[in-house]
Every structure is written in structure tokens, then in C-alpha cells.
């Protein structure tokens, strides 16, 4: 084995420049493969962290306008979601619906004596903390609770970003302070810190009192249960829509009476998309690598041709055909492996760099190469190298020992 490695090193050194030039193509292919894989992994991880992490088993429903006449009502009628929906949806679709919440958007600014930010508020239920993924991100105080809603309290939860703007004095806590929303004084009860979210939350009941149209809920958030696959998600959506159609008198097939955004089926589709991304990255990377492999195969052909006389000599002095075959194959695999690993190192370095740069802005999750990928790439390299060397090696096998007697 050591002898074989020595033999290979000797022949590779013998054609340094040519070996390097050929190898660079393989390095490039592996580099591309690694970089693409890492980026794809980054995107997938990011998606899983930031999208899948949220409560995805829910529907958001908005009122729209009917597009077809139904039960004596003409088309173009506006549908307003109301309190009745809040109760009939969970009771009518028990199988799939966990609960239904809503929120009301309103206002245009939040201010203190000294500062003002242009920002609307969101009137929510306590469960919004979980839906918005801020339940574990409270840095001070608490989120809204049931008593807040029951008593229509004028309390507010804000993000640390706006807390800092509204109360710029250093070391000052926002909790317990008063802010003005729509001319009313609200007490800050909690501050949260989130990368994505900077909304202002007040109790739903308080927001409804402040709203001009107290009946219109604007939006329903339907939390689902028992949904496992695409079909469940679609069925749940259909059931919810049927209940709303009955409540408001529109055709269950009306496409525009209510707008339903099905987070669950969307997420499933996105996941499928990411699966396709992963596959296409492998395909692209391997195709790039293939050009490198073809280069190696080519150069091995040239090498075998050049060394016909040498192979003849080796055969004449007693090399068995198998030895020649193994040597050519091993040479191809060695070049592929050596330069492949150079590509891995470069690819890893670049992805680490990208990771470092983008980690700040949070564009990509964690675009690094795992050990599994490195192992998979090694297997690919050995197979590719063997494939590259196979045909040149078979050609070398055809060299007869008589070649040794021919003049160079």
C-alpha cells in the first residue's frame, strides 16, 4: 500500500504542472458543490428557524367582497367578520379547530411627552404572545393577560427597539411608564426583544372599544389541531369557509368573499420547495464536478498514451495486468481526492466567511458544512475518481509487453 502511494506520488510529481491544472478543475467543482450545499443548508435552516418555528398550524381569515350572487344577495357585497364567527367556527369545526382569536389594528402613533413614533397598535388576545413567538422573548414585565381583556385595561406591550426610542434616557425602564395612543394614556406592562417583530400590543377588548366600527373584527386567526398533511390542511380550510359562508350568506365556492391564508399548507409547500432546492443543488454541484472529472479522465488518457513505453517495460519485467490497472485507477482517485479536499477546504473557508458576514444581518441561518456532507462528498470523490480512471486504466491494460522492445 505504501509502495503504491510512493509510485503514485512519483508519477504525479513527474507531471506537476499538468496534474495541478487538471486538479484545479476538480477543486473548483467541489468548491461549487460545497458552497452551494452550504448556502442551501443555510436557507433551509433559516426557514426552519424563522418560519417553521412559528405557530404554523393556523389559518388567517380576512373579510372580502362576494363575487357571485347567493341566496338573494347580489355580488360585490362586503363581508365583515364579526363576533359570531369567533364562536361558531370553533364549535362548527371541532375536529380541526383548536380555538379562534382575532386582533384589531388601529392608531397611527405612540408618544410620550418627549418622543413620538409613528406606529399602529394591534389589539390581541393573550395567546398572541405564542403566535407571534414573543412569549419567551419578554425582557421586562409581562405580556397581556386575561384580566387585561376582561376589564378592557389600557395597558400596552412594546418592543425594546421602540422602548429605547420612547424612553431614551439610559438605564430607564419602560415598564410602568405611560404612553399616549389615540389620545388615551396607556401603561406599559411589558417589553420584548425580537429580531423580526416590533409590533405594539394592547388588549383586544380595549382595541375594540377604540375602533370606529365595533362589529368588524377585520381578521380571524384560527388555530388548527389534528392536521398532519396537505389534505387535512385543505379540509380544515374548507370547513372553516363553509361555516363563514353560512354565517354571512355567501357561496362556499366564492373565491373572494373571504381571504384565507393557510399557513399550514403554505409551510408544507415551502418545505417541498426546499427539498427540491436541496436536490437541484446536488445536481448542479455534481454536474460542475463532472466537468472536472472529465478533465481528469482526459489527462489520464494522455498519461497512459505517453507512458505506453513505460507500461510496456513494467509489463516486460513482470508487472501483472492487475497491477497496472490498480496503479492507473489509484492515480486518478488520488488526484481527485487531493484536489477535491482542497476544494472542500476552500469551500468551507468561504462559507465560514459568508456565515460571519451574514450572521449579523440574519440573512442565512448557519451555512456551514456538516461532517455528513464532507463524508458524502468524499464518497462522491472516490467514485468519481475511479470512474475517471476506469477507461484510461482499461486502455493501459491493452498495452502489450512487446511495447518495451519498441524504440522510443
Amino acid at each position: 500500500m505504501i509502495d503504491l502511494i510512493r509510485e503514485i506520488m512519483q508519477t504525479l510529481r513527474n507531471n506537476k504542472l499538468r496534474t495541478i491544472l487538471t486538479g484545479v478543475a476538480v477543486s473548483w467543482g467541489v468548491f461549487m458543490l460545497i458552497t452551494l450545499l452550504a448556502l442551501a443548508k443555510g436557507i433551509t435552516d433559516d426557514f426552519e428557524q424563522d418560519v417553521m418555528g412559528k405557530n404554523m398550524t393556523r389559518l388567517r381569515v380576512f373579510g372580502g367582497r362576494t363575487s357571485v350572487p347567493w341566496e338573494g344577495n347580489r355580488e360585490g357585497r362586503r363581508i365583515r367578520l364579526d363576533e359570531k364567527d369567533l364562536h361558531t367556527v370553533p364549535s362548527g369545526a371541532k375536529e380541526y379547530v383548536e380555538d379562534v382569536t382575532t386582533n384589531i389594528w388601529g392608531g397611527s402613533s405612540v408618544s410620550t411627552k418627549d418622543a413620538k413614533v409613528n406606529l399602529s397598535y394591534s389589539g390581541v388576545y393573550p395567546s398572541a404572545a405564542k403566535e407571534q413567538q414573543i412569549d419567551d422573548k419578554m425582557t421586562e414585565g409581562r405580556f397581556l393577560n386575561q384580566p387585561d381583556l376582561d376589564e378592557c385595561r389600557k395597558v400596552v406591550v412594546i418592543s425594546d427597539y421602540y422602548a429605547g426610542q420612547l424612553f431614551p434616557a439610559e438605564g430607564e425602564s419602560a415598564v410602568g411608564k405611560t404612553v399616549i395612543i389615540n389620545g388615551l394614556a396607556f401603561k406599559v406592562v411589558g417589553v420584548y426583544k425580537s429580531r423580526w417583530n416590533r409590533d405594539v400590543y394592547i388588549p383586544f377588548t380595549t382595541a375594540r372599544l377604540m375602533a370606529s366600527d365595533r362589529k368588524d373584527l377585520g381578521e380571524l386567526s384560527v388555530n388548527l389541531k389534528n392536521v398532519m398533511n396537505q389534505e387535512d390542511g385543505e379540509e380544515a380550510e374548507k370547513q372553516v369557509k363553509n361555516i363563514l359562508a353560512k354565517n354571512h350568506g355567501f357561496s362556499p365556492d366564492d373565491e373572494s368573499a373571504v381571504w384565507i391564508s393557510n399557513y399550514f399548507t403554505n409551510a408544507l409547500q415551502a418545505q417541498q420547495g426546499l427539498g427540491i432546492l436541496d436536490v437541484s443543488v446536488w445536481v448542479l454541484g455534481i454536474l460542475t464536478l463532472l466537468t472536472g472529472i472529465v478533465g481528469i479522465s482526459n489527462i489520464m488518457f494522455v498519461s497512459v498514451k505517453e507512458r505506453t513505453h513505460e507500461i510496456g517495460i513494467r509489463r516486460a519485467i513482470g508487472a501483472k495486468p492487475r497491477k497496472i490497472l490498480i496503479q492507473i485507477l489509484a492515480e486518478a482517485v488520488s488526484i481527485t481526492l487531493i484536489f477535491g479536499y482542497i476544494g472542500i477546504v476552500m469551500g468551507t473557508a468561504v462559507t465560514q466567511l459568508i456565515d460571519h458576514i451574514f450572521n449579523e444581518s440574519g440573512m442565512l441561518g448557519n451555512p456551514t458544512v456538516s461532517l455528513t456532507i464532507a463524508f458524502e462528498v468524499t464518497v462522491v470523490l472516490v467514485l468519481a475518481g475511479a470512474l475517471a480512471g476506469l477507461f484510461p486504466a482499461l486502455k493501459a491494460l491493452k498495452v502489450k509487453p512487446v511495447e518495451a522492445l519498441r524504440d522510443e
Binding site: T11, R314, A316, I317, G318, L405
Partner: protein, 238 residues
Amino acid sequence: MNEIIRLRDVNKTYDGAVPLHVLRGIDMSVEKGELVSIMGASGSGKSTLLNILGILDNYDSGEYFLDGTLIKNLSENKAAEYRNKLIGFVFQSFNLINYKNAVENVALPLFYQGISRKKRNALAMEQLERMGLADRAHHLPGELSGGQKQRVAIARAMITDPALILADEPTGALDSQTSKDVMKIFRQLNEEEGKTIVIVTHDPGVAAQTNRLIRISDGVIAPDSPGTPEIPQLVISQ
């Protein structure tokens, strides 16, 4: 009778548009310890005979015994094994591997026997010392003179202690002085170690330094140069 080479009615025809009957019933033998030359004009079948003697090519009919073993229709593996163990080749153009130094070249036949690097390099050094090339052991062939290269090649041929040294125009690429030196080595190996050596040449000066001359013409052994040694002569020379 201690025959190293025994050919009986060996025929060889090259297929083609016009089949070429190159060897037409060769009968010859070489005794152990002989130094024999084979001469012939180009096209006489000399090279084909050399290929067959060196197990580099097959023949169509007849029998070839090398050191008591019938060499006929061998597999590539078996042929390689016999070449490795029974025959030491010396070529006109030396046929050293140009990126291997002298020791590595000499040791190469042992590499194919699976002998460890340490042991085969030690044996190779021994051979080089005998050829007076110990100080050139780590030079590449490109750094050696023609005579030195041929001595390295002879060392390589000797390293497996083969039954037969087969030399193809060993002085063809050398000047007259170096040719004499190389021939001297062959004679020494023959006289001092009893090596059986067959030299294929077209140089009468080389042939004259061998103990017996076999002429080949038109695919048969010429009548004036018997293919088998004359027993009395051999007895005298021993």
C-alpha cells in the same frame, strides 16, 4: 542435459491481408551456462524469435521449454510471473524508467514480487555495487552516461537471479569502447557466475565474443550454425 532453452518446431504466422509465416519450424536449444548470440538480417524473424524467447509473444505451433517449463498459451498473469522470475531483460535503449533513480529502477522487478522496499533496495544496491555504480545509485537515468545506463539495466536484469539473461542489441546504442565494456560484463557474468546469456545482435564484433552463434534467416536456423550446441566443444570449454 541441462537445457535452459529448448525450442521444437516453433512456427509463428502473423495474420493479415497476406499472412506472414515468420518462423518456419525453429529447432534450437541453449544449455545452462552458455553465452550464445543470435544473428540475422532484418526481416529474418530474429525479433519474433526474441519475443517468443522472452515470453512477450505467443507462437502458433511447436514447443518452447524455458528452464524445464513448457511456455505455451499462458495467461497474461502467468506470462508476467515467468518473465519476472525466469528472465532478465537487457534492451537496446536501456528502457529505464526516467523518473526513477538507479536503485529504484534496479529494484522494480522485486516490487512486482511484493518484496518490501527496504529489502529490495538493499538487494538493488548490492547489484549496483557489483556493476561499480554504487556512487551513482541515487542518480536519475538522465544523469547517467550510456554505458552507466546499460550497466544499471544489467543490474536490473540480474536482481531476480533469473535462469536466462536475454539481451536485445545491448550495444546498439553505445560507442565502441563502451560496447566492449558491456560485453566484458556479459562475459564475466557468464564465466564467473555461470549465467546463461542469449544476445540478439546484428554486430559481428559482438557475436564474435560469444561462445556460439546461431544464425537465423527466412524464419529457419541457418544450416551452417547448428541450433544445438556441439557437445564435445562444450566439454572442452568447461
